[in-house]
Amino acid sequence: MDDYDKTCLESALVGVCNIVQQEWGGAIPCQVVLVTDGCLGIGRGSLRHSLATHSQRSESNRFPLPFPFPSKLYIMCMANLEELQSTDSLDCLERLIDLNNGEGQIFTIDGPLCLKNVQSMFGKLIDLAYTPFHAVLKCGHLTADVQVFPRPEPFVVDEEIDPIPKVINTDLEIVGFIDIADISSPPVLSRHLVLPIALNKEGDEVGTGITDDNEDENSANQIAGKIPNFCVLLHGSLKVEGMVAIVQLGPEWHGMLYSQADSKKKSNLMMSLFEPGPEPLPWLGKMAQLGPISDAKENPYGEDDNKSPFPLQPKNKRSYAQNVTVWIKPSGLQTDVQKILRNARKLPEKTQTFYKELNRLRKAALAFGFLDLLKGVADMLERECTLLPDTAHPDAAFQLTHAAQQLKLASTGTSEYAGYDHNITPLQTDFSGSSAERM
């Protein structure tokens, strides 16, 4: 980004907006920290001017807020509250936060402007926005103290019934492992880096940070590198096995731990959060029922690991998986009629398919109350019968006549013949034996 010698907050925000979008797109949450002396600039390009013209923007010079990505805008004012309140600066800056849908906060200096107070203000920002989440990662008896970056945001499940934001547990318990192929790139609310905190309970003080004795600290670092850490074991295992660990985040809330490569050489342990609920990933079914495969009567992955229980088949198939009948467009109806006709011309070889298609059409026509169609198709089959060539198998004529007659009966709508679950079955003829067909 270029820098200029004039205060022009709007251009700065536009610049940030472009950089973030180019770099990370519109889906990655970003914290934007604006450091200002609280002066808003003068004339054109000043924040006052920007805000005054805010309502007159077209698509081409859209005001950069709200940012087109999930964001928090933190405004760090190098001025104390009294100074800012003496003008309308604070109001204007507050407008910015409002324009960012309330996502963000303004920080001001407590007391006189000096290095110590500025540091203290940034300290507050760090505490608010850059503090990792501390948790204990558990897998049976194996545990590790970890920090999670960035802090997972509280999640509101349903604003009507359950408006209390859910926060994740500080005990993150691994409840199982699953193949990457089975979980297959699931949608996640957010993802986080999981880093072990260097300490061990025997009292090695590692990573205490500020110490005056650098030598001591170095040795502490060396020790930290030597302590076997469950995170390292977990990360390596997940990577080698091509699996993810399912982790319990709270009641009816799960996430996954996995290895994510950030370059060819280096990869990290990451945690992603699923949407809370009993069944966040429909293709895995209910989380509460994902027990260990060793408990299954038969290994669902097969002896040679050549099959998988996932994705689960839904109880009710979706319309695109169940061969539904839709005749809204004439072409839909014509295709179905032609299928019957094509099979009719290949009787008796296609007897089974012929009746299958015939019954499908019959069912739909009955449900839609489209009895004229049944009559029409019956007429058509009768005509086909008259057009049969001399070489045709004698069974063909019998089947066509039988089918036509059954459709006519159904078209009367009387319950005896128009039952939805009733199927027209092939006529048993002396030739039936030879009409065996492979389906």
Partner: protein, 631 residues
């Protein structure tokens, strides 16, 4: 969308009165003669659908799309109205599918054109619709039970979609009044009932449909609030495909759907199997799927779909997926879809391609409680050395038959036998003086002698087995066998000859093993062992962890090193980078979480006496030995 918005409950009320048997006057050619057939055949006359057929198939299409995208929690109640109301299904989830509705509609059949029109009315259906909206759904019931005293927070809203043939605007007005009146009455009833819920909000969508070519007697009217509880809108629509289009638009509005067209999907031609052409398939889905697109400003919006009807669709170019499914991709959303034109060839080619996962699928679901997985993890991790050089037995193929079954909840006789065989085999190895894979990494010299190697191995195996003896009596038997067979610990005399440190280490781990039953102190013993070993192994071991290719940086190493480079805050008042400000803060926070070093806890004036144990007679209390020796 809130769970209990208007879209939770949709009531279809379809007119089944005699005039609905009338033709929509839109012809369908169904006798499409295939080429090269006998000349001179006159095709059968085209047929046309009745107003009823048009209404039913359009409603079914609405339901199809809704069920595809919301298989749960969005419910339909279907009512047919003539001389009375016929309620075809209930709010229960089992009743929510197309097959059920189609079967029920078939049972009703088309309207009887010869029935007495005076006896028939859409009003019966509308009254029944209000009644059914007061009935609680299983989801509402569940939510109310869960919320207990806050049960009133569970909303009861719904939508009535009424397809009829009205006589005039005032007729429409009369229908609206009737609905309003009925809601009023039923809300009074519901107030005094545990099984019924008052209607908080009802959206009435009145669709007047009439044969193509006739003039409409009813005018369109946008949504209007008739009362705080009832809103109503009127659509006057020609029957046939116009009605279907209208319901397609409505389902998109009601359920916040949007359209995406996948373009350039290569498919084999039906006629010429060896050629392929590109097709487009339009899909509907929740509009949230487009949120990020629209935000990015890069909207691939194209004006209208081929139908030219209502929608804006976002076009995406097909990209044949690689068959690599072992990679995790970052995914921010997954949405259910429904093809607009479900049984067109391009649509079914696409959905079949996507449904036919190459991997073999099994039917039926696995339902094993997740708690069982936690139990299993607990058992498997009772004894789990974290690094290879810390274990002997897990480096030995010969131990596998025992190690793999001992973690089980219960053992079979065969398992016990296998464990015993494993132990005998180890005894045999010891007798033959076979070498053991004891890690010599970081140790000085050749490492422990052979007999000592076996002692370490037996100790470790005992630790493993002891961790599981409470699982069952059979586990106990394995331990008995082990104790009977293992080489006995050396005599006290011999022990004294050995180096003190090693002795400490061994005794510590043996002691810990005995403690297991009370506490899982094995864990501490492992750590202790680790610390003691590190005393000797120094940096070499760190190399092992760091060198394993997949390991992240050792914890906190980096930030700390960087802190080194910047002067500590207190010392100089010079500039502090934001990064160091941050890392100092985080590190301080982390350090607060540490358990305090026992030496410091027990210290007097920040001085702790070292090697206290040497003063003690038995010299066994060496807990802080490892640490102390470094200071």
């Amino acid at each position: 969308m809130k769970i209990f918005s208007e879209s939770h409950k949709t009531v279809f009320v379809v007119d089944h009165c005699p005039y609905m048997a009338e033709s929509c006057r839109q012809h369908v050619e169904f006798d499409m003669l295939v080429k090269n057939r006998t000349q001179g055949i006159i095709p059968l006359a085209p047929i046309s659908k009745s107003l009823w057929t048009c209404s039913v198939e359009s409603s079914m299409e609405y339901c199809r799309i809704m069920y595809d995208i919301f298989p749960f929690k969005k419910l339909v109640n279907f009512i047919v109205s003539d001389s009375g109301a016929h309620v075809l299904n209930s709010w229960t989830q089992e009743d929510q599918n197309l097959q059920e509705l189609m079967a029920a509609l078939a049972a009703v059949g088309p309207p009887n054109p010869r029935a007495d029109p005076e006896c028939c009315s859409i009003l019966h259906g509308l009254v029944a619709a209000v009644e059914t909206l007061c009935k609680i759904t299983e989801y509402q019931h569940e939510a109310r039970t869960l919320l207990m005293e806050n049960a009133e927070r569970v909303g009861n809203r719904g939508r009535i979609i009424c397809i009829t043939n009205a006589k005039s605007d005032s007729h429409v007005r009369m229908l609206e009044d009737c609905v309003q009146e009925t809601i009023h009455e039923h809300n009074k009833l519901a107030a005094n009932s545990d099984h019924l819920m008052q209607i908080q909000k009802c959206e009435l969508v009145l669709i007047h449909t009439y044969p193509v070519g006739e003039d409409s007697l009813v005018s369109d009217r946008p949504k209007k609030e008739l009362s705080p509880v009832l809103t109503s809108e009127v659509h006057s629509v020609r029957a046939g495909r116009h009605l279907a289009t209208k319901l397609n638009i409505l389902v998109q509005q009601h359920f916040d759907l949007a359209s995406t067209t996948i373009t350039n999907i290569p498919m084999k031609e039906e006629q010429h199997a060896n050629t392929s052409a590109n097709y487009d398939v339009e899909l509907l889905h929740h509009k949230d799927a487009h949120v990020d697109f629209l935000k990015s400003g890069d909207n691939h919006l194209s004006g209208s779909s081929r139908e030219g009807s209502f929608k804006e669709t976002i076009t995406l170019k097909w990209c044949t997926p690689r068959t690599n499914n072992i990679e995790l991709h970052y995914c921010t959303g997954a949405y259910r879809i429904s093809p607009v034109d479900v049984n067109s060839r391009p649509s079914s080619c696409l959905t079949n391609f996507l449904l036919n996962d190459p991997r073999y699928k099994i039917d039926g679901s696995l339902e094993i409680p997740l708690e069982r997985a936690k139990d299993q993890l607990e058992k498997h991790t009772r004894y789990w050395p974290m690094i290879i050089s810390q274990t002997t037995i897990f480096n030995m193929q010969a131990v596998v038959p025992l190690a793999s079954v001992i973690v089980k909840e219960s053992l079979t006789e065969e398992d016990v036998l296998n464990c015993q065989k494993t132990i005998y085999n180890l005894v045999d190895m010891e007798r033959k003086n076979d070498p053991l894979p004891i890690s010599t990494v970081g140790t000085r010299g050749k490492g422990p002698k052979r007999d000592e190697q076996y002692r370490i191995m037996w100790n470790e195996l005992e630790t493993l087995v002891r961790a599981h003896i409470n699982n069952s009596e059979k586990h106990q038997r394995v331990l008995e066998c082990l104790m009977a067979c293992r080489s006995k610990p050396p005599e006290e005399e011999e022990r004294k000859k050995r180096g003190r440190k090693r002795e400490d280490k061994e005794d510590k781990s043996e002691k810990a093993v005995k403690d297991y039953e009370q506490e899982k102190s094995w864990q501490d013993s492992e750590r202790l062992k680790g610390i003691l070993e590190r005393g000797k192994e120094e940096l070499a071991e760190a190399e092992i962890i760091k060198d394993s290719p997949d390991s992240p940086e050792p914890p906190n190493k980096k930030p700390l090193v960087e802190t080194d480079e910047t002067p500590p805050v207190e010392k100089s008042k010079g500039p502090v980078s934001l990064l160091s400000l941050w890392s100092n803060r985080i590190n301080t926070a982390n350090s607060r979480k540490h358990q305090e070093f026992a030496g410091r806890l027990n210290s007097v004036n920040n001085r702790a006496e070292l090697y206290q144990h040497l003063k003690e007679e038995n010299g066994m209390e060496t807990t802080e030995n490892g640490k102390a020796s470094r200071q």
